[in-house]
C-alpha cells in the first residue's frame, strides 16, 4: 500500500463503494468473459481440415512416461548419452593430447635454445601452456559430443517428460516438479541452472532448487569424472568393456547427485525452508523434429566453445599461479608443498591427499582446472617431466599412491563440494542474500567431507578384513 500515492488513495476512497463485494467472483467473470471471446474468435478463424492422427506421438508419449518403462528409459538414455560421450571422446582426446604436447616440446626447445630464463619458461610453458593443453584435450571432445546430444533431447521435447515422471519424488521431498528442469540445465552449467530456477514461482521452492543445483554434475566436472573413471574403473576389466564400466561409474555418481538433491531438498523443506508444496503446473509441449544441422552448429559454436573459452581464460592464469607456487621456495620447501603439507592430514582422512585438496581449492574459479592443477602439483613434486596421455596420467597418479579408493573419493568430492565461483556469484545475484550464498557452499561441502570420510574409513575396514582373511 505504501507505494500508492495520494491521488491513488483518493481514488480508492471514491471508487470503493462502486466495487462489488465478491472479488473472486469478479475475477472469474473477467477471465470467463475473455475466454468466451477467445473461443468465439478461434471458432471462426480456425478450421479443422483433415483429422490429424496423433497416434504415433501419443504412443511415444505413453511409452516415455509409462508406469514400467518411464524410469528405465530415462536411465537408459542417460547411460546412452554418457556412453557415446565417453567412447567417442576417448580417441580424439588422446589425439589432441599428443598433438598439443608435441607442440609443448617444440616450444620448450625453442625457449631453451633461445636462452630464455628458466623461470619464464616455467611460467609460460610448464605453467600456462601445459594447463591449457590439458583443459583443451580433456574438455573439448566430451563437450563437443555431450552438448549436441543433450540439445537433441531438449529440442525433441523430452525434458518436460522427465519432469512429469520425476515430479512425484520432488513432491514428496517438498519441492517443485520443475526443479527437475533446472537440474537438467545444471548438467550443462550450474550458473545457468541457478538462473533457470526463475521458472519456479514459489520463493521457498525456488531457493531449494538454487541451493541443490550444484548436485547436478556440470560440464566442468564431467571431464574429470570421465578421465578418472576411465583410468581407474575402466582398467579393472577387459579393454572391450572399459568404457562401459567407466560409463556406469559416471552414471552412478550422477544418480547419487540426484538422490542427494532429493534428500537435501527434503531436509531443507522440513527445517530451514519449511512449507507446503506449492501449486504445480507443467506444460507438456508436442514432440518436435529436432533440426540436426542447427543443433550441431549452435551447440558447438555457442556452448562448447563458450565453455571452453571460459575454461581457457581461467586455466592460463591459474596454471601460471600454480607453477609459481610450486617453484617459490621457503627454506627448501615450495609454498605449494607447504600448503599441501598442512592439508594432507585432512586429505588423508577423506581418502585423498593435500595436493588434491589444493586442486579443489584453486579450482574455485572454475571446476575445469581441477585436473591440470592436480597434475602440475604432482609433477612439481618431481616424479616425471612429461605427461602426454591418459596412460601417463595413470602412472603419475599411481606413483602418488592413488588407489581406486582415492579415485572414488575424488569423484565423490567432485560431486559434493562448493559450487564454482561463477555459480556462487549467480546464486548471490538471484537470492540477493549473502547468507544463502554461504549456505549454498557449506551444505555440499559438509556433505562432501562427511561422505568421503565414511567411504574412506569404510573401505579401509573392508581392506583390513580382507587382508586379515587372506593373511
Amino acid at each position: 500500500m505504501s507505494t500508492i500515492n495520494k491521488h491513488g488513495l483518493l481514488i480508492i476512497r471514491e471508487i470503493e463503494p462502486l466495487l462489488p463485494g465478491n472479488v473472486s467472483n469478479i475475477k472469474d467473470r473477467i477471465v470467463s468473459g475473455i475466454y468466451r471471446q477467445a473461443e468465439d474468435i478461434s471458432a471462426q478463424a480456425v478450421r479443422t481440415e483433415s483429422s490429424y492422427q496423433a497416434s504415433l506421438e501419443t504412443k511415444l508419449d505413453g511409452i516415455l512416461t509409462s508406469r514400467w518403462l518411464g524410469f528405465p528409459i530415462m536411465l537408459f538414455l542417460l547411460t546412452l548419452v554418457l556412453w557415446i560421450t565417453i567412447t567417442g571422446a576417448n580417441y580424439p582426446s588422446q589425439l589432441l593430447a599428443s598433438g598439443l604436447f608435441w607442440i609443448e616440446k617444440q616450444l620448450l626447445n625453442l625457449f631453451v635454445t633461445s636462452g630464455a630464463p628458466s623461470w619464464l619458461t616455467g611460467v609460460l610453458i610448464l605453467g600456462m601452456y601445459r594447463s591449457l593443453a590439458w583443459v583443451v584435450s580433456v574438455m573439448l571432445p566430451p563437450m563437443a559430443i555431450f552438448f549436441p546430444l543433450f540439445t537433441l533431447l531438449e529440442d525433441l521435447g523430452y525434458l518436460p517428460r522427465v519432469a512429469f515422471n520425476m515430479d512425484n519424488l520432488f513432491r514428496r521431498a517438498g519441492a517443485h516438479g520443475k526443479q527437475c528442469l533446472t537440474m537438467c540445465m545444471g548438467f550443462g552449467c550450474n550458473a545457468a541452472g541457478v538462473t533457470s530456477c526463475r521458472i519456479i514461482d514459489s520463493p521457498r521452492e525456488r531457493l531449494i532448487a538454487i541451493l541443490t543445483n550444484t548436485f547436478s554434475i556440470c560440464n566442468g566436472r564431467f571431464p574429470t569424472l570421465i578421465s578418472l573413471a576411465t583410468i581407474f574403473m575402466g582398467t579393472l576389466v577387459a579393454r572391450a568393456f572399459s568404457s562401459t564400466l567407466a560409463t556406469l561409474a559416471v552414471v552412478a555418481i550422477i544418480m547419487m547427485g540426484i538422490l542427494t538433491t532429493l534428500l537435501v531438498s527434503y531436509l531443507l523443506s522440513r527445517t530451514l525452508l519449511q512449507g507446503v508444496p506449492s501449486f504445480f503446473v507443467l506444460e507438456l509441449p508436442p514432440f518436435r523434429k529436432p533440426q540436426l544441422g542447427q543443433i550441431l552448429i549452435r551447440s558447438l559454436l555457442d556452448r562448447t566453445l563458450f565453455v571452453l573459452w571460459r575454461a581457457v581464460v581461467i586455466a592460463a592464469p591459474a596454471g601460471a599461479l600454480t607453477w609459481i607456487l610450486a617453484n617459490s621456495f621457503v627454506a627448501d620447501t615450495s609454498i605449494f608443498a607447504l600448503i599441501a603439507g598442512w592439508l594432507d592430514p585432512l586429505g588423508q582422512l577423506m581418502g585423498m591427499d593435500g595436493i588434491i585438496l589444493i586442486a579443489f581449492l584453486l579450482g574455485l574459479p572454475a571446476n575445469e582446472i581441477f585436473l591440470p592443477i592436480l597434475i602440475m602439483g604432482y609433477l612439481s613434486a618431481g616424479s616425471m617431466l612429461e605427461l602426454d596421455s591418459l596412460n601417463a596420467l595413470r602412472t603419475l597418479l599411481l606413483d602418488h599412491g592413488w588407489t581406486w579408493i582415492t579415485a572414488l573419493c575424488v569423484m565423490l568430492f567432485s560431486l559434493l563440494h562448493f559450487p564454482c565461483g561463477t555459480t556462487l556469484y549467480t546464486i548471490f545475484k538471484e537470492t540477493r542474500s549473502a547468507r544463502w550464498t554461504i549456505m549454498a557452499a557449506l551444505i555440499p561441502l559438509a556433505l562432501g567431507i562427511l561422505v568421503t570420510l565414511i567411504v574412506n574409513q569404510g573401505a579401509r575396514i573392508i581392506n583390513c578384513f580382507s587382508a586379515g582373511f587372506s593373511g
Binding site: 470467463s32 509409462s66 512429469f164 515430479d167 512425484n168 503446473v281 507443467l282 509441449p285
Partner: protein, 80 residues
C-alpha cells in the same frame, strides 16, 4: 455453493473427458487455473498419469498440461 457428491477431476478415468463446473481453489492459484483455460464450462480430457500416478496430464484447450492430483481434486466437473 458446492453441489454435494459432485465429481472432481481426479475421479475421471484416463481417456474420458469432463466439463468444468466449479473450481474450489482460491487466491492466485485459482487465477492460474482459470488462465490455463479451466473456466467453468470448458472441456478437459484426462490423457495419462505419470509412473507414480501423480501428477496427471490433461488436455486443456489444445495443450497437454500436468497437474498434481491434490490440485486437480479442487476442480469439480460433470461428465455430460
Amino acid at each position: 455453493m458446492v453441489i454435494p457428491n459432485s465429481l472432481s477431476l481426479i475421479d475421471i478415468p484416463v481417456g474420458d473427458s469432463a466439463r468444468v463446473v466449479n473450481i474450489l481453489t482460491i487466491g492466485a492459484n485459482r487465477r492460474r487455473l482459470l488462465d490455463l483455460g479451466l473456466v467453468p464450462g470448458s472441456r478437459v480430457e484426462v490423457i495419462r498419469r505419470s509412473p507414480a500416478g501423480n501428477p496427471t496430464a490433461y488436455l486443456i484447450k489444445g495443450t497437454l498440461i500436468a497437474l498434481r492430483n491434490e490440485d486437480a481434486r479442487q476442480i469439480l466437473v460433470d461428465t455430460n
